[in-house]
């Protein structure tokens, strides 16, 4: 089962690890009731997951080999790999793959680094810090559709504040037009997404920071470590688990990029912001080619599985160092 590699292996951490591992290993006796209870406890979730995710996804898988339309009086027939052949020949889908890749490659590291910076910043014990924490987290609680509607206005070259400020400071020279420019639209989507998501990551990392043993810093200080050294050799390793979590989740979410694009640009201008998900909804729903949309869903699934797997392996390798 390849997904096995995706599973988290809880790592003993300096403080509570040993107890946990011992606890885990020591008990190996099967309790006869445990089997039944195990299924009883997980039963509701298993049934729901099966009915509402597994079955529809298998349906999508099945549909992807047919010519099923959303609404059509024509009989359905099997078409083999035709849908897959066509989505890979579709220049818009190719573009969406590139866009997804660019988005992920930029957002995952930049947002994570930014969130780490924020977490360190709001971990200070100074007055009003919880106000700043809340302010930084505020975008997270905005519905993405609402946030995107607001940003569409902010980015507008005519009535938006961003170009308004740029024009004011450049004497009217600078007005890039963001979402209307095929060169800049993706960057604008990326920027807005980081704005919206960084706060959540910040909280995760902040929680991690507060778990780092203060004695380590004190010891380092005695040894005359610089700020950077303390950050590099205590903070970052201490946050390893959180950083991995944040990077993994952000990667998966990055591939799912949909809401903000659909509200702000619908994939335009000139397909500059098409993503796999906008393409899926366009093809599968708007063009009613549900079979081809399903093929996109399957390809998406395989790609994200692969990426997550590779990410896991890489991270584990580094861990082994």
């Amino acid at each position: 089962m390849p997904t096995d590699a995706l599973l988290a292996r809880p790592r003993p951490n300096a403080r509570d690890g040993p107890t946990r591992w011992f606890g885990y290993r020591r008990r190996h006796t099967y309790q006869p009731a445990e089997r039944t209870v195990g299924w009883l406890f997980s039963g509701p979730a298993v049934v729901l997951l099966t009915l509402f995710i597994v079955v529809p996804f298998l349906l999508a898988l099945g549909l992807s080999f047919t010519n099923q339309r959303l609404i059509s009086p024509l009989p359905v027939r099997l078409v083999g790999m035709e849908n897959y052949r066509r989505i890979f020949a579709d220049p818009v889908f190719q573009r969406s793959l590139v866009n997804n890749a660019v988005f992920t490659v930029v957002v995952v590291p930049v947002q994570t680094a930014f969130a780490l910076f924020l977490a360190v910043l709001v971990n200070q014990k100074i007055r009003f810090i919880s106000f700043f924490r809340t302010a930084y987290f505020a975008p997270v609680v905005m519905i993405m559709a609402v946030a995107a509607t607001i940003w569409k206005l902010l980015y507008d070259p005519d009535i938006g504040i961003i170009d308004g400020v740029l024009r004011a400071v450049s004497g009217g020279q600078l007005s890039p037009g963001w979402l209307r420019s095929s060169a800049l639209a993706l960057s604008a989507v990326i920027f807005m997404s980081i704005w919206q998501g960084a706060g959540f990551q910040m909280v995760v990392l902040l929680a991690g920071l507060q778990d780092i043993d203060q004695e380590l810093y004190e010891a380092a200080e005695i040894d005359g470590a610089s700020r950077w050294q303390k950050f590099r050799y205590i903070t970052v390793p201490g946050l390893r688990n959180q950083l991995v979590f944040v990077a993994t989740v952000t990667t998966i979410l990055s591939f799912r990029l949909f809401d903000q694009v659909y509200v702000m640009t619908r994939g335009g201008p000139l397909d500059a912001t098409q993503t796999m998900m906008t393409r899926l909804v366009d093809v599968g729903f708007n063009q009613q080619a549900i079979a081809r949309g399903s093929a996109i869903a399957v390809v998406f699934f395989l790609i994200v599985c692969l990426v997550t797997l590779v990410q896991r392996l890489l991270l584990r390798e580094r861990e082994a160092d």
């Binding site: 079955v55 959303l70 609404i71 009086p73 359905v76 005519d158 619908r266 201008p269 063009q287």
Partner: protein
């Protein structure tokens, strides 16, 4: 081992459901030769009706019509559901795909052919009285007909043209056309834009370009290529767009349009007020702006034909229509309600919003549509054949999407030829995917 069995079981179940679903959506054509209406209502019943919520007044008028209908007879109760226009088509699509359409459906005209082909609508020929049929504008009947049967009737027609401010044109020294016969040529129009800019209008043209997520681009700008002698699809057999939508004439016409964007003549209209705020001197839009614009500019306002791109002016037509879905058990009851909408009260209220009333008998009684009235141009365009219906093919939703993308490309400065080629490809592929949409008339 157990897990394998589970997987197999789940997959088998999924396949069964798949087959069931496939069967479900692939139902046969509704009605067929059976007549929809038999002239009598089969007892008390409640019918659902969906209405797209447009402007506030439209909704109020419709609510009043429903209440009046429910009050004056005791057999049929109509329960309306108001759905925002923004995702109305998505909702109808989802409902059609899932077999949950209401009894009475309001839909944008050109969707009719697709719905009718899908078997979602019942033909209305046996419902419509001969007087009503004779009183309706020919274009209403034509738009509602697919495969020789009538599937929908609208209470209003639409009108498309250019709203202009006369004072601006006097100032810029540009003549204002009075009829389709002396419409501006495309070159003249482009030249007028330059002159208007010189007269103080930095971005003189409003194309309602902000309305980019609905039918507007196809309705409003298909006349450009049609006027140039091209079309969205070859209307001889509705089998191919290749060679028609991407013909050199279409490319040339849209290149002219693109030049307006490249020269920055077009107001982005983000605030939906380019014309009412006085920034733009020309607004390329349909009748639905008449109330707003005439209130703002009154005597300074005129409605003139779209520019001529080579083979004479073409303009859009067609509007929202009413149909009876296959889910309705008693079409007579549904028709009783729909026909009540053709009474003068409701039509007049709709016309107050600027729409051309569907009944010929009403036309001349409303001053703005009477000869010499400010909206008379719309009536003339319908009469003279300047107004062209959107292609009567089940492929229309695909055509509309494809053309929408073409206009978006034109706006963003992309390659016109490539965009049109892609549109042709996706339309023709859609037709092929649907086996040419059989049967054909």
């Amino acid at each position: 081992m157990r897990s394998r069995t589970t997987v197999c079981g789940v997959f088998a179940a999924a396949c069964l459901t798949l087959v069931a679903c496939g069967g479900g959506s692939g139902t046969s054509q509704a009605a067929g030769t059976v007549s929809t209406c038999n002239g009598k209502i089969d007892g008390k019943q409640t019918l659902s009706a969906w209405f797209h919520t447009g402007q506030g007044d439209e909704r109020t008028a419709f609510e009043q019509a429903v209440n009046a209908f429910n009050a004056r007879q005791s057999e049929v109760v109509v329960k309306p559901t108001f759905i925002p226009e923004g995702n109305y088509n998505e909702q109808v699509k989802a409902a059609a795909a899932s077999g949950s359409l209401p009894d009475i459906l309001d839909f944008d005209g050109p969707s009719l052919y697709n719905y009718a082909w899908n078997g979602n609508l019942q033909p209305l020929d046996t419902c419509l009285s001969s007087q009503l049929r004779a009183d309706l504008l020919p274009t209403i009947i034509k738009q509602g007909t697919y495969n020789t049967k009538l599937y929908g009737v609208g209470t209003a027609e639409s009108g498309l043209g250019l709203y202009v401010r006369k004072s601006a044109f006097t100032k810029a020294g540009v003549r204002i056309p009075t009829s389709a016969a002396d419409a501006w040529t495309a070159a003249e129009f482009t030249d007028a834009l330059a002159k208007l800019r010189a007269a103080g209008f930095a971005k003189p043209l409003d194309l309602q370009i902000n309305q980019d997520q609905n039918e507007w681009y196809a309705y409003g700008f298909a006349p450009i290529i049609e006027s140039a002698g091209a079309d969205l699809i070859n209307r001889a057999n509705f089998e191919a767009s290749e060679g028609t939508i991407n013909s050199p004439k279409a490319v040339a016409a849209l290149t002219v349009m693109q030049s307006w964007f490249k020269n920055d003549y077009v107001d982005a209209n983000t605030d939906d007020a380019a014309f009412t705020e006085g920034r733009a001197a020309i607004s390329w839009v349909g009748h639905w702006k008449y109330a707003d614009y005439s209130k703002k500019w009154s005597d300074d306002l005129a409605i003139v034909p779209l520019p001529n791109f080579g083979t004479g002016v073409r303009t859009g037509e067609g509007s929202w229509q009413w149909g009876i879905t296959k889910h309705t058990a008693d079409a007579d009851a549904a028709w009783a309600f729909i026909s009540s909408l053709f009474e003068q009260t409701y039509q007049k209220q709709v016309a107050a919003n600027g729409a051309v009333p569907a009944s010929k008998s009403l036309l001349n009684t409303i001053p703005q549509f009477a000869p010499g009235g400010p909206e008379r141009l719309y009536v003339d365009q319908l009469d003279s054949g300047v107004a062209l219906p959107r292609p009567a093919t089940p492929a229309y939703p695909t055509i509309s999407l494809a053309f929408n993308k073409v206009i978006a490309t034109v706006r963003s400065g992309g390659n016109v030829q490539t965009a049109l080629n892609e549109a042709a490809k996706s339309i023709d592929q859609d037709i092929k995917d649907n086996d040419g949409y059989p049967p054909k008339s």
